[in-house]
Amino acid sequence: MSDHILTQVRRLLMRAVSTVDDPALTLALERLDEPLRVAIAGKVKAGKSTLLNAMVGEELAPTDAGECTRLVTWYRDGQRYEALLHLEDGNVEPRPFDRVQGALRITLGRPAKDVDHIEVRVPSRRLRTSTLIDTPGIGSISADVSLRTMTFLEAAQDRAAQADAVIYLLRHMHSGDVRFLEAFHGDDIVQGSPVNTVGVLSRADEIGSCRPDSMETAARVAARYQSDERMRRLCPVVVPVAGLLAVAGATLREDEYRTLAAVAAAPTEDAIDLMLTADRFGSPDATVKVPVAARRAVLARLGLFGVRHSVQLIRGKQAPNAQALAAALTAHSGLDRLNEVLTAQFVSRGQVLKARSALSTLDLVVRSGKYGALTELVSWAEEIRSAAHEFVEVRLLHLLRSGRIPGKAEHLADLERLLGGSGAEHSARLGLPPDAHPHRLADAAREAIARCNRLAEHPLSQRELRNAARAAVRSCEAIVIALRY
């Protein structure tokens, strides 16, 4: 069914391209066959580049203690390593680059203001399903912007955006913060709405001051965010991720493991003393017999929490070798959970998101008024929008999550799940484990149909709720049909 919608949209776009000659449409058409574009956005120093490196599994984006990323950079799957500058005037030129400890250093050869964005091609399996876009941090924003944030986010649902989905990085913040919502305010390439956004509580290891239970504390904070009503309107899921741990998990080297193991082998008192502060760990006159350069290198890579956690794992015999440690670090970093959420939220709905982006581009072209009314294209697009159940689902999810549908909380949560809010898979919709037997799924779907029908026909249900319930019935019927098939 999903292929169907993409085909429909493709056909519409082909027609559009042959009717009007607009480069935006050509690009939109090409984009339908590309991987999903996921932008990583957030405020300055939120750890966007670090997360990107963790997700690609390679230290590609340069990271630094100071503000670092200044240009939008796309990371795409390619045959070989390549860096292309996309200039403001539309030209594309390849640029030479070198790699400093893995991180790409690209010589621009021109003022940064002439560059629209950089495209980096990397042969990577992980980039095949989605293209990742690293963005410069959002700085401080004025009060008026804050006031318009909601308005802006509302509008974003039908505006064309360069990215299909957004990962928002948040630092630990107070929910009463005036700038709380501004953390979501992107620039023109990243516009999120609750259907295509996942929140990441970044630098999670630092929230609990690098104490052993830091990740648990971070999970508590993330849960609090997730229960915040305003937050739900923007991104319904918030996952804590310790970026440094995740990168280390993906790229841990044997020599780093040896350094950590040597620290772990030191007498307890010495090791504790060494790991007391970052300064001590990198100090040349420590009692532990590990070269200072090696210590500083692992500290820069893992951070103090990463070092402490690794040493603890090695001492506890839970990480007998580099692979085991890398796996343990990845597991603790929260990256696995993020990947799960991304799969549920984006990948399974990737085609809908892409189709949605393409239709938005078409809207924009029509609205620009350059080519007349284009009535035929408009009504065709409208037809696809209203007929495709996927779109209905997405729109209802948006309404549900932004609190626009009145009803009891339990009913709304049920509807949200059935409409694919926790993932578009059958099991996710029905709240069953992924390996549930088809019979069980079908039974659950039938029950859900009955439940939603009651809701849809209940005389006291508001009309919006009835609509949502009817749509959920349709979603469940689709499941039943698919299972029988």
């Binding site: 909601m150 107070h174 970052a278 009145p406």
Partner: protein, 609 residues
């Protein structure tokens, strides 16, 4: 909130300058007793009490979760301020010296409740229940640093620096002697932080940036350097101290000097003691010195005249005439028509009107901008952000208004003091009495004789915390309690939803907008009421303070004159031998006064004054 009952204990930890000032005050008190001036003794007692009990408040400010409470804990080597990875300090906590240790919570309804230490956490953290909200918490501890006279105000990190709470923090800064701006070593200073620093530096004389959590970040030295660059670019000259509260607390637990040195705290403590506390002490000592000077000048005039009359009764009568004239004139100084009184009364009226106008102007501007914002969009889309914006702007207006009030009252105090000086000097100007002038010149520092306005201004600045503190921790806090109610139309709009026809939808939006505007006006009215009342109270307190202060002075001047006349009469009418005896005593007193005056004139803080 100060406790004048234990000045002697508190003094023990304070600097040499204050200790000396205490001795000086005691000496002046003894001399006043000798001359039979109980009124001046009372005056000295009050000054002594003030000297001992005034805190030097240091506000600890900064963004949410930067380690403000931990910093206060580490400074005092205690765990008294609750620290949690997620929950934040929501109520200002004042930590000052006290014995035995105690915790008091001041509630929204002005009740004060004693709180067990174990339960402090519940009072300081955000409360969601329906108990009476807490306005401020006061913790008293017996710590060397506090005994020295410093007190710390741990400010809430709720809501960010540019929120309503952040604005109130700025209000507190107007009243604090110094501010510690806390930012952690995880990242360089952000835009809002720099902006807040700018405002802080404008309101507070001493600002120190404390970069915390250096134990966690290998790159903290770079962050400090980056921050320095940012400060230089912003044109701010503020010292920066990197510290690790974790190490300091560990050092305290293990009693390790090396760890303490590593924590970076010794430098911060030196700055607090040397720059902030020592300066405050010098100011306090100077104010005490000037108090002594005033008393001394009154005593010298009285004893000098009586002594001159004792040596030569004929001169005595001539002096008596002049002093009688002076007494008449000083009656005028105390009377309501005196020049300084006019300046005070006119000044207060102007000030009151201007501050009121200023507030109105600010709130009117806010109303206009708010209405414009409501016109731009349907309130249902942005109500929450809108109400956050309104409360922030309203507190900002109130705090700016308070700042203006503090500045203006200080100006007025200066004007009144200046005028009083003029009036006071005018008492002697056209008196044709060379002998008296002679007596005055005899070893007397001219500056010394003036009831210097500086003296008074120091006392006034010290009292600022008392005025403003009431405003800050008192009714002013209730601003946060005022809320905007969401327009009822919001709910209606939700229910009827999207399928409405265009005109109906517009009509509903218009309805919501009007409701929102009415609510905005009601809210602003209420803010105007609360803040206006606070400001009027503060103005009234200022007026009373100034009037009482100068009236007391005028009375003391008059009393000096009357006593002088009485002394001269007595001396002139007494039998010869008795007069000689009396004169010998007066000579003795005069010498003591002279010696003391010379001593005082040689004080370093007087030279710098």
């Amino acid at each position: 909130m100060t406790d004048p009952s234990s000045p002697a204990q508190q003094r023990a930890g304070r600097s040499a300058a204050v200790a000396r000032a205490v001795l000086d005050l005691a000496e002046a008190r003894r001399l006043s007793g000798q001359a039979g001036r109980i009124d001046l003794m009372t005056r000295i007692d009050e000054a002594t009490a003030r000297l001992g009990s005034d805190d030097v408040p240091v506000a600890v400010v900064g963004e949410f979760k930067q380690g403000k409470s931990t910093l206060v804990n580490a400074l005092l080597r205690t765990e008294v301020c609750p620290v949690d990875s997620d929950i934040v300090t929501a109520v200002p906590t004042v930590v000052r010296w006290g014995k035995p240790p105690s915790v008091t919570a001041r509630l929204e309804n002005d009740d004060e409740v004693a709180v067990p230490f174990k339960r402090l956490h519940d009072y300081v953290a955000e409360r969601t229940g329906d108990e009476v909200p807490v306005r401020a918490v006061e913790v008293r501890l017996d710590r060397q640093l506090l005994r020295g006279g410093l007190s710390f105000v741990d400010t809430p990190g709720v809501g960010g620096l540019d929120s309503a709470h952040g604005n109130l923090t700025l209000g507190a800064l107007t009243l604090a002697r110094a501010a510690l701006f806390v930012t952690d070593a995880a990242q360089e200073l952000a835009g809002p932080e720099l902006e807040f620093l700018n405002k802080t530096a404008a309101r507070c004389e001493h600002v120190i940036i404390v970069v915390t959590k250096t134990d966690l970040y290998p790159e903290w030295r770079r962050i400090v350097r980056l921050n320095q660059t940012h400060l230089a670019q912003a044109g701010l000259q503020v010292p920066m101290v990197p510290v690790s509260s974790f190490l300091r607390l560990r050092a305290a637990a293990r009693n390790s000097d090396a760890l303490n040195a590593e924590s970076g705290f010794p430098r911060l403590l030196t700055m607090l003691r040397r720059d902030i506390l020592a300066e405050a002490d010098t100011l306090a000592a100077r104010a005490a010195g000037q108090e002594v000077a005033f008393v001394l000048s009154q005593l010298r005039e009285q004893v000098g005249a009586a002594r001159a009359a004792g040596h030569d009764p004929r001169t005595g009568w001539a002096i008596a005439d002049q002093v009688a004239e002076k007494s008449r004139r000083s009656q005028a100084l105390a009377a309501s028509g005196a020049g300084w009184q006019t300046v005070l009364n006119d000044g207060i009226q102007d000030l009151s009107a201007d501050i009121d106008h200023d507030l109105r102007e600010r709130l009117r501007g806010l109303l206009r901008r708010g209405e414009a914002l409501l016109d731009e969009d349907d309130p249902k889309n942005n109500w929450r952000d809108f109400s956050a914006w309104v409360t922030r702007e309203a507190t900002s207006a109130a705090v700016d208004n308070l700042f203006q009030l503090v500045q203006r009252t200080e100006e007025l105090a200066r004007d009144v003091a200046e005028r009083f000086d003029l009036d006071y000097e005018g008492l002697d100007v056209d008196l044709p009495a060379p002998e008296l002038v002679l007596a005055r010149i005899h070893g007397l520092d001219a500056k010394f004789d003036r009831p210097s306005m500086q003296q008074f201004l120091n006392a006034f600045t010290a009292a600022r915390m008392t005025f403003g503190g009431l405003v800050m921790f008192g009714a002013f806090g209730s601003l946060l309690g005022l809320t905007l109610a969401a327009p009822i139309g919001l709910a209606v709009g939700l229910v009827v939803g999207r399928k409405l026809v265009g005109t109906e939808r517009q009509r509903q939006a218009e309805y919501r907008r009007n409701q929102a505007k009415a609510e905005l006006r009601r809210y602003i009215d209420e803010v105007a009421f609360v803040v206006g009342k606070d400001c009027r109270d503060a103005v009234r307190r200022t007026q009373r303070f100034l009037r009482d202060e100068f009236a007391a002075r005028a009375q003391q001047v008059e009393r000096s004159a009357n006593l002088t006349i009485a002394a001269i009469r007595e001396a002139a009418e007494a039998p010869e031998h008795e007069r000689r005896q009396r004169t010998a005593v007066l000579d003795q007193q005069w010498q003591e006064l002279d010696r003391f005056a010379a001593q005082m004139a040689a004080r370093p803080e007087r030279r710098s004054a």
